[in-house]
Subunit: 668 residues, 3 copies
């Protein structure tokens, strides 16, 4: 692949009539060069047990060959066929109300041997059938894989075996999780109870971690199968997705990619792919900010510190997301600006029945042209011309935001506030960086290489190992800058709260401690309401950045800064206004030596370097208003128009506009 | 029956002590002439398997004979006795959590053979026992019958047989519903999965349709049983009810008759009765508008284009509905004004225990007189005197509102908005007609005889056959007027969205098309917020009645009008203000040649013709204020007071008042 | 015990490391003299079936002996060990979704024979092991026992046996509950259906009453077991708790002691204890009013008309309840002022894992000193010095508020309003008394000794026997004063509404009747909105205290007063403003000859007499503001400071302050 991939998921299986030729022609007219096929079509590929039918695949591959489209083949395993559920009832996992009924996708028990047997067979057949085809450039294994809250006799048995291996004795197990509480301790492994009833938060989260590992191992297993067939030049990818935030519109037309994925560890599962992929959906129209595209991109890029594929992004999904003119193009460039090398829509066409009828594709149900499709054509034209300049955008971010799935789940058991989830804190801290145009990586604490960074942000890092605490202290001592929110460094990996001064192991680093916290009530910080939670900080060597404003809690600090060794550590004990957080970030960035752009959201600057174009600065206008800014770079050329801007020149933006500045050497 | 029926449901079985004589005397004092008995009393009629006890029935029939009251006998099958549930556990249907527990009514499997066996036996015995009694004027079969979300092994098996019959091959089935999606296609009928897990909207709604048919067939089966016993002069009726809208007051004291019934097709089930009956409950006190009475009446009257019985209406049910002085009488005349020939209260007395203790009857728990009962006495006196003039009111409405249960369910799967149901759109469009005093029929699309009408209203008619579309186009071409809301003419009978320009098959008729829609956001239409949904209409031959007001959607129309053949078709692409809708209706009524009264709600005019009195105009004041209007008729006599009004005379109304104008011939 | 008990629950089993010595030393430093141990630790005491390990108990008893701490030993039965659930699966009760899964506490079937066998064994072993230890002063049986909505084959069978015994024939049963309704009558006991499906409110509430009796009998059974071992000087207690009102914060960190306990009858279960105990939790910080402490104390003290133990009260439980400076001390004295002789915190330390991690103890997770602990030290110092003067506070209240668990449940089936529960009415009527400083007992109607009182308050006493009605009428006739709210005297013990004029049997006593009621809508009373419910009162001999203000309901009274014999009866037909209620109370108190203090909340006066100090008046400032009042007593000494106040002297209060005035004889 020497070009940007631009394309779409494509399911001729779902079409009301045969229009393969028309579809492919319209894709070509839109400048597309890739389609993703086959995932979810098991019952079409294998209509009956052991009977295979690749005719849909074959027709698409032939058309792709003829028209020069590349193809990504998805394994079809995320939805099992009815015959399998009938033949092997235990393929359906156990849910809250007993065994899941067949119908919805992703309700199967992915460790069930019968499921594995049949999944293996269809994967092998499909891979065998397609791998040698010249237009097949890679494989997607499964689809948005998670553990589906999966419980079953198999899973229970495997979990007990895992615990035995990890803890050796029931006494160790009891101690690690405090099972004596409410008489939950066990003294013989065979008494270990059904995890579905568990109310011990630590043990329940250990089970969740185990389930996430099963899901990751399942992907690795698929990778191994596909690897037996794929060519050297073919990639394996997977579409990692994010916590799905419902906005309450019911049934299928609801939700978007909000934050850290709870039910599989991207970090752990990334082993299963050669190129990371992702699905990113986000509010649009007046609610389009670009934050979800940036967050998702920064997360997935950080998995392998490399470019990634956007395997699904929205065309004009349901009524909430019909894009305004210019927005589809703004989405596409925003993905590139985070390091994407592929942008594929979900979906090409709008499906005419089933469950996701109103997850509309580029084509509406009439399957004709429309303004959204026409905007895709514009993107296609531009990328045909300039795509090679834009691909392989590399970043060397000096800031990283730390994320941790275990902390996410811990804070579901022990909520900061019913209105504030772990991901709310993550987004609170990420979005402020984003709006200030401080680019960052988003890294799982288990994969953190802290020496890469000068500034680390720790939102609600509730569950932390002694090892990580030690490394963070050393990071600051060596000159790093650490900014932590409330509810960080509280408990160990098993969610046992550390039994000494908080923040555990870092009281020297932060130069303060606390042992009480409170609901804020009317408490303020820096003139604005402190929200959700106030830790009552007692500075030791730290300076108070802001004290609480309250009759009784006024004696305590709400945010502190501490020089520690060569570095500096900030601690924010409450949910502050974004404005206050940004003043802390500005200070921290300065200490970390990270330059702060003059512009802020809705003008967003994202930069990097590509092999073909050198240093590029994407500048986006995330608003319906025309705007302008002064060029902050010595000498640049706008990549799409060729227009030149020197430092101080006024750059004008239309609504929802995209400007790409290529830095030009003086001798240019 | 040569008189209006006025009476009440009556359950001496539920009385705390024997007061049959007193009750009958109080009914007679109230001018009542009919009681409805026996439905729901299976465990009293057949206390043990095969042992029958008709003593309660007999005592009531004797008293009725003595006092000259007519009696409607209800079959007792809507609640099964405990002995049957114990003897035949599978009589209880399967609910979401397994087999239903005995207790609540209407939880049985109405196709279960054991249920049918026992139901048949008790129905036969009861019919045999009562049919020859001279005071028995008819039978009510079952009670508010619906399919109760009924799932069971029987139902599943019958459904598969039905699908085989309808689709022949699994390939046809897969294609009709798009089952390939999410791997749900089947290739052997024996793989057909349990419908309780189904997530394919089309198939799920087909199942719902099938369940509705089972319910209708169950009523036909009861009719056939009763018909073997009943006399020629006895009617068979059933109390059809409506979608029950909860207002969130919990438990039993909650909800009212809101719109189209979801769980049985009145149209289909009407075959089972010789006279249509209905139960209508509605808000009262300050929230009494008359709209529910009119909507229910227009619906039930249209089933057989004939007069109907109000078998249940409220007396002073729970705290929300204690009527203000005058309101009970206003309710009663409002029923007549829609074509009712019978008004029976539910209930005579207030039940002292059980579940519906606060569904209070005409008598409160003290079983003494009270202002509500006394107002019933006034109604009784008036009807004794004038009832024969009022009965058999016939209407020839030139407007009809089209309803469709399949569309109702389709829009539960694919909501327009979480705040807007199918029935909300129906009521939006019906209520505006009602408030403008444009009388209409409410007809099921499957029973539509479009040649009867000049104006058709289509609210959210999402699921439509090609046949109906063709007939509607022809209706307009011939000179008819059609007014359609958004989300009409979208999908076929299996809920597959039509794969061409929308509105399907009617783009010529409406002179416009659209292929995109959007959440309104800040969009306005005619100066008022467009709500819930905006279809982005592109007029072709149509005129734009109003364009959207929005930075980006301003390029599209929100409401259009198109001359087509001899007729005219209006399309409204969004949920507009009632005021805007009324301007469209006014225009459409003019085009349809339907005269528009000068008065509007809260003054409501309902007209018709009776054999004994000729043309009658009921005029109601649905408000707590005194009002007046100018007489719009040449020469009239107020039927209750004898007062004369000529055109232009001022007619004065007290709060919640009723005026009945009888047109008087000039020679009178 | 010759001293006030001051201490804490203590669970070394839950500690992350051994710090028994440190903990005991810190308790001693805080002036504590008692700990409560062992309840909930079954899996530690009996790690495997029949294997016992009392080492934790022994170490604590040794330390207690050494340091002179008293010990209350709790039986460990509220949470069963995993081995028992595995060995005897039917030990888990049936919940809504089938058999409960092991994990959460209090999900077992307390009448299951296997449960009883194992519970008996562990109780006997523990009692045998500890009863002779000199520091063990008493036993707590089980913990916050309730019936847990317990259904099981055993319970069902016992219930049918109970009904047979009570009603003899199915006909009597049918009649008592009106089972003919909806065909629920039975004619053979073996047809009696599973109570989980029951929708007959009366029968369902009879089942609830039966379940409460099972729970009470279970405690009596534990008492009998413990009594075989305990010394004469050892008490048996139990921690009765209250309706737990959620405030919506989710998971464990949510709720407080709001009102009458629904799921066990304190009155019935009090037989099982020699000293009543209680757990009281309440809002604090700005929401601290003292009302829950007073209500709980007045309830529990009234059980045996004696002093009681506060076995659990909050230290700094979760973020909502971190006390302001002074509040922990205010809590403690408030308990004493209601008659408590023991105040124990739940919990000593904060637990580091499990479910209730954020139900924080006196010590935070760091297990070091903190301001809350330090305030406990102040309490301990004061009580060491003055405790003997404060203990055994006796009250002779002349007012009583009547409560009834059956009415509570009846109003769940037949809600007054979805926003107004039984306990809301109880608290409405209790809190107004409390705020006016009219002290009262809170007594179960089944234990009422009306001759003790001059003023009885009846909030929503829906379900009442003929016997009680007769006694209340006689009480008024003899000169008593009765104040009743709406929804009192409606139904009998089986929830059958009385079939005559309401309020049943008391129309002469109240001098009025009503047979209709209504949702208030815009109705007002005394210028303020009437809320939730209006009974339309028709005075006979009664005076109207206030008529409704409404176009139609203005004809009816909303509150009446009637002289009846030597006494006076007030009836309030709607939920009035607290202000209006207080004017009624002021009038009623005057009629009852009960003096009314000049001060009102936030200054709270609670009085009584102790053996060592004579008459004491606790005065509390429940506010963050400084306040003052004029001394209303002839000659007093402030017990903690020794300061003297004569009538008219100004008494000054700091925020959240406590003043204890000891009456001084003139000759003093």
């Amino acid at each position: 692949m020497k070009e940007l991939l631009f394309g779409t998921a494509y399911y001729p299986e779902y079409m009301p009539y045969d229009r393969l030729e028309t579809d492919i022609a319209m894709m070509k007219a839109a400048g597309m060069n890739v389609i993703r096929i086959a995932e979810s079509t098991w019952s079409t590929l294998e209509p009956q047990d052991g009977t295979f039918d690749f005719s849909f695949i074959d027709r698409v591959l032939e058309a792709a060959e003829r028209e020069g489209l590349s193809v990504i083949v998805g394994t079809p395993t995320y939805a099992v066929p009815a015959w399998l559920a009938r033949k092997e009832p235990e393929v359906m996992a156990l849910g809250a109300g007993g065994r899941n009924l067949y119908g919805r996708r992703q309700l199967m028990d992915i460790v069930n041997p019968a499921f594995r047997y049949h999944a293996e067979r269809v994967i092998r057949r499909l891979a065998e059938h397609t791998a040698r085809h010249p237009r097949v450039i890679g494989f997607q294994i499964d689809n948005e894989t998670k553990h589906y809250g999966m419980a079953s006799e198999n899973v229970q048995e495997l979990f007990v075996a895992y615990l035995k291996e990890k803890f050796r004795t029931t006494e160790n197990l009891n101690r690690a999780f405090g099972l004596a509480y409410w008489s939950n301790s066990i003294h013989d492994w065979k008494d270990f109870p059904d995890m579905r009833g568990c109310v011990n938060a630590g043990l329940a989260c250990e089970f969740g971690k185990f389930q996430r590992t099963l899901a990751a191992q399942y992907l690795v297993w698929q990778r191994d199968l596909v690897s037996e067939y794929k060519r050297e030049d073919q990639f394996i990818t997977h579409n990692f997705d994010f916590e799905w935030k419902k906005f309450g519109a019911d049934i299928a037309q609801d939700g978007y990619s909000y934050g850290v994925q709870p039910d599989i560890s991207h970090y752990e599962a990334a082993e299963a792919v050669t190129v990371a992929g992702t699905d990113i959906y986000h509010p649009t129209q007046d609610a389009l900010t670009g934050a979800e595209i940036a967050f998702g991109g920064d997360s997935v890029r950080s998995l392998k510190q490399d470019n990634y594929f956007v395997l699904e992004c929205q065309a004009q999904a349901f009524k909430y997301w019909t894009p305004y003119p210019g927005q589809l193009r703004l989405h596409a460039y925003s993905h590139l600006a985070s390091g994407a090398d592929a942008v594929l829509y979900w979906n090409w066409h709008s499906i005419h029945n089933g469950y996701e009828t109103y997850w509309k594709g580029l084509l509406s149900h009439d399957l004709e042209t429309n303004p959204t499709y026409e905007e895709a054509c514009q993107i296609g034209r531009e990328w045909k011309e300039k795509g090679t300049l834009l691909r392989q955008l590399k970043k060397k971010n000096r800031a990283a935001l730390l994320m941790d799935t275990q902390s996410l789940h811990a804070l579901r058991w022990f909520p900061i506030d019913k209105e504030l989830s772990y991901n709310d804190v993550v987004r609170h801290m990420y979005d402020a960086l984003y709006e200030m145009n401080i680019e960052c990586d988003v890294v799982d604490v288990h994969g953190l290489e802290e020496e890469r960074y000068d500034l680390l942000i720790a939102p609600a890092l509730y569950s932390v190992s002694e090892d990580l605490i030690g490394r963070l202290a050393a990071f600051v001592k060596r000159g790093g800058v650490l900014v932590s929110s409330f509810r960080s460094f509280v408990a160990d990996e098993h969610l046992s709260v550390y039994a000494d001064a908080a923040p555990h192991g870092l009281t020297d680093c932060f130069g303060m401690s606390y042992n009480r916290f409170t609901e804020p009530g009317t408490t303020k910080l820096a003139g604005e309401p402190a929200r959700y939670f106030c830790e009552l900080l007692r500075p030791d060597t730290a300076e108070t950045l802001a004290a609480y404003e309250h009759k009784y809690w006024g004696a305590y600090s709400g945010a502190t800064r501490n020089r520690y060794g060569q570095g500096c550590a900030y601690y924010i004990g409450t949910y502050t206004s974004p404005e206050f957080l940004k003043t802390v970030y500005a200070d921290a960035a300065e200490k970390a030596g990270i330059p702060l752009p003059d512009v802020r959201w809705p003008l967003i600057v994202r930069s990097g370097e590509t092999p073909a174009a050198g240093v590029l600065h994407y500048i986006f206008n995330y608003s319906a208003d025309e705007r302008s800014m002064s060029c902050p770079y010595e000498e640049t050329k706008e990549l799409l128009t060729g227009k030149r801007y020197r430092r101080g020149d006024t750059i004008a933006f239309k609504d929802w506009d995209v400007v790409i500045l290529q830095e030009v050497k003086n001798e240019d």
